[in-house]
């Protein structure tokens, strides 16, 4: 073989390796469009756009602002952008199509006032975290448990299907649906009520039921034996956020909610001596066959959850070198802040790290992932637990940059005083069996931080402290910038490699939603929702800082560089 030919073959081989690497690097990145809740079905919330970068981010200015007019609760939905059109949903399921470059309204759809659920249950709150766009349809869930599809061009309703009866189930849909090929998969909340959680898939073209997977196996199904008596009927586990999809493995990944009742387990745990696989498949990450919804594997992060530590959050899919071997992994943060790295083909535990600085619910985790030194709420006693049920992180998402290899996480340091009770379940009514007022941990003057974690080594690269709480999703970009917002109204940018604050803009209302990046005619935009959440975790967090005035609102603010071409 001549040297020239050898050289050419080497070069081709190198190019192929690089192409494969780039493919893995790029599988989770968005480009001009922001097509899914998590950016792509890999849920990285990472944009490959780099027009806005660490050198010029301080020049960002508002390009347009859109006020939804739906001020009952905050704007928390991740916008979707397709071909220069933005689709946005408000807390009461008003849907807007907007010109993504100019903010001009193209169409507007209004879901009729829903029949809300029983007072005090989660089904009685307003809020919507996003919609899905695919196959010419704009698809979203509602507070009264409908899944609705609109015509993408006109905003006219194409179909709607009832997923459950709000008056009965104590559940509602606030999560964005996930499009998987010709189906749309949606989860619901209600796991804090006497309810049995499930995922449901519908045919995207006609709304017909494709499959339903119950988080809690029924009688005769494997896993039902992990429940005491009839407790499986009301055992919670609701998968209340949005999953991920790996087309190569044809698997969808979803995190499931806490077991119910949240703070009292004697009525649901058959064998208290076990330390694995209790109350399946609550507080777990599951892999389901994308076509049939059949369970392929599960990993339970919190067996016998007694702290309301759902595993419902986003599942980030990536390919990384782990102990010398390239592996298809997933990274998943539990509400406790314990973050799991699993082989996403098999569910094998590869490692975990804890992002919370203040915690006392466990002493630690063994090499094989078993929780040790569990500190459980005791009936009849009030105990201090950290983190709180609001989470070391709330439902707002992390972000992953393939350029830095870091997972960016908004982490809160909040504790709670739990007083549990042994009430019996009543279908569709709150079934938490505990009061849990949040308290601040002592001897700190900052109660949150944005962190950069290497998920493979489990090491924190940097941490940016913040005085109050951080409850908005992260966005990272190929410009090596990380964006998020705070409750005081600041939307800010950090250097993705160092954590240095580069830029900030006062948007006028607190941040409890998400930012996305997209481009129209080569101009890059950064769009963020604004508006502080007045109920649930947002309201509770404000109670910790009564001197503060974090403003509500429902406005989208969109930034761009002034010099960029239009």
């Amino acid at each position: 073989m001549s040297l020239a030919i050898y050289d050419r073959q080497m070069r081709i081989a190198l190019l192929l390796i690089m192409a494969a690497f780039c493919q893995a690097q790029d599988a989770g990145a968005t480009h001009a469009d922001w097509l899914h809740y998590g950016g792509t079905p890999f849920s990285w919330r990472y944009s490959a756009l780099d027009q806005i970068n660490t050198a010029n981010v301080q020049n960002l200015v508002p390009a347009w602002i859109f006020q939804t007019g739906d001020y009952v609760e905050n704007l928390q939905a991740t916008p979707i952008v397709v071909g220069g059109v933005m689709y946005l949903i408000t807390p009461r399921a008003q849907v807007f199509a907007l010109d993504a470059a100019a903010g001009k309204m193209i169409w507007h759809y209004r879901w009729p006032a829903p029949r809300l659920g029983a007072p005090g249950t989660i089904a009685d709150f307003n809020g919507n975290r996003g919609l899905a766009v695919s196959a010419g349809k704009v698809i979203f869930g509602t507070a009264d448990n409908y899944l609705v599809a609109l015509d993408q061009k006109t905003g006219q309703e194409a179909w709607r299907v009832s997923v459950d009866d709000t008056k009965q189930c104590g559940c509602s849909i606030t999560a964005a649906p996930l499009v998987v090929k010709d189906k749309v998969v949606v989860g619901g909340n209600g796991g804090d009520a006497a309810h049995r959680g499930y995922l449901t898939a519908f045919n995207i073209n006609n709304g017909r039921l494709a499959w339903r997977w119950y988080v809690i196996p029924g009688p005769g199904e494997k896993g039902n034996e992990t429940w005491k008596g009839d407790s499986w009927k009301f055992g919670g586990g609701a998968p209340w956020l949005t999953g991920s999809f790996d087309p190569d493995l044809n698997l969808i990944y979803w995190g499931t909610g806490n077991a119910a009742s949240d703070f009292f387990d004697a009525d649901r745990v058959p064998d208290k001596t076990k330390n694995r696989d209790i109350n399946l498949y609550t507080a777990s990450v599951v892999a389901l066959d994308a076509d049939t919804g059949k369970l392929r594997w599960h990993y339970q992060e919190v067996p016998d959850d007694l702290w309301d530590f759902d595993s419902a959050y986003e599942v980030l899919l990536m390919d990384r070198q782990v102990r010398g071997r390239m592996r298809k992994i997933l990274v998943h943060m539990n509400k406790s802040g314990l973050t799991f790295v699993l082989d996403r083909t098999t569910g094998e535990y590869l490692g975990s790290f804890n992002v919370a600085e203040v915690f006392n619910w466990i002493a630690g985790v063994t090499e094989n992932g078993t929780l040790v030194g569990r500190n459980e709420p005791q009936l009849g006693k009030t105990g201090l637990f950290c983190p709180s049920a609001a989470g070391a992180k709330s439902w707002n998402s992390t972000s992953y940059s393939p350029r830095t290899g870091f997972l960016y996480a908004p982490v809160n340091e909040i504790c709670e005083n739990v007083t549990s009770n042994d009430d019996k379940p009543k279908e569709g009514r709150t079934y938490m069996n505990g009061a849990f007022p949040m308290v601040l941990p002592p001897n700190r003057n900052t109660y949150s931080h944005v962190d950069a974690w290497d998920p493979v080594t489990g090491k924190r690269a940097w941490s940016y402290p913040y005085r109050f709480v951080l409850l908005s999703s992260m966005l990272s970009t190929a410009g090596d910038v990380v964006f998020t917002g705070d409750p005081e109204g600041n939307f800010f940018a950090l250097n993705a490699r160092t954590g240095t604050r580069l830029w900030s803009f006062q948007t006028g209302a607190g941040h409890r939603g998400a930012a996305v990046s997209y481009s129209v005619n080569v101009r890059q935009y950064i769009a963020t929702t604004t508006g502080w959440q007045q109920t649930v975790v947002g309201g509770g967090a404000l109670g910790l800082f009564p001197q503060e005035n974090w403003r509500q609102g429902s406005t989208l603010v969109v930034f761009a560089l002034p010099g960029a071409s239009k």
Partner: protein, 251 residues
């Protein structure tokens, strides 16, 4: 105020001291208001909802708010959801949290509201079966709303079949057929408009309310849809119990 007055008038309280009522109110508060992501225990600090203690609320304000809720917020109207005695007690309790040591209780307690006749054991079982969540979409309440439970795909049940056999043999003249893109499906027509046609597609449960352009669909009377297949998850005994329930509540 009318609603509150009516509620107070209807309250049924045995001879109780204010202290007993407040104590009961504390219990109601703990289970109803301080549960979940709402007010914290004893209203002392903000949970997901505001702090309630030492806010200077008047008893009238508390009574109105508990009964009617606060529009546009997560504070629900408990007037329809709490038994009158619990309402009175929880209002009195929150009053004590606001420095009203001797909250006023209804002076003259009215006669109890006529209680609904209790359901027979069979009808009670029928009520559970009607909306039995363990059957997924294979339950009556997927398509019928009775006593506020269920999705009203079908119009209200007007005539109750005599027995399970009649329930299975039920003819459904309202169900017709539609053909879209060469596929024929059983439907329940909802609206024909100049610009669109809306109907429930009954091919699968839960039925799908579809809206299509008039030109894209052909419809005809009759269908191959059978009520018997929609109720296939139930046994004969189950169906008899459901019929007993329907007869009891539509008397």
């Amino acid at each position: 105020m009318t609603l509150v007055v009516l509620l107070l008038a209807a309250a049924v309280l045995p001879a109780q001291t204010v202290q007993d009522v407040v104590r009961h109110g504390e219990d109601v508060f703990a289970k109803t208001c301080a549960s979940g992501y709402c007010h914290a225990a004893k209203g002392a600090v903000a949970g997901g909802a505001p702090r309630l203690a030492a806010r200077g609320f008047s008893q009238e304000y508390i009574a109105n708010t508990v009964a009617r809720g606060i529009a546009g917020t997560a504070m629900p109207a408990f007037g329809e959801n709490l038994p009158p005695a619990d309402m009175v007690a929880v209002i009195a309790y929150v009053a004590t949290l606001n420095g009203i040591d001797r909250p006023s209780l209804p002076a003259r307690l009215g006669a109890p509201a006529p209680a609904a006749a209790p359901l027979s054991p069979e009808a009670t079982r029928g009520r559970e079966l009607f909306s039995d969540a363990t059957r997924g979409f294979g339950r009556c309440s997927t398509c019928h709303e009775v006593n506020g439970i269920g999705i009203p795909v079908s119009t209200a049940i007007a005539k109750i079949p005599a027995d399970p056999a009649a329930l299975k043999a039920l003819t459904t003249p309202g169900v017709s057929s539609a053909t879209i893109d060469g596929e024929t499906m059983p439907i329940l027509m909802i609206a024909r408009r100049a610009q669109s046609v809306s109907f429930y597609d009954l091919t699968s449960v839960s039925p799908v309310l579809r809206t299509v352009a008039p030109a894209s669909v052909q419809t005809r009377d009759g269908s191959n849809w059978r009520h018997a297949s929609a109720i296939a998850s139930y046994s004969e005994t189950d169906l008899a119990a459901i019929l007993a329930y329907l007869r009891a509540v539509t008397r």
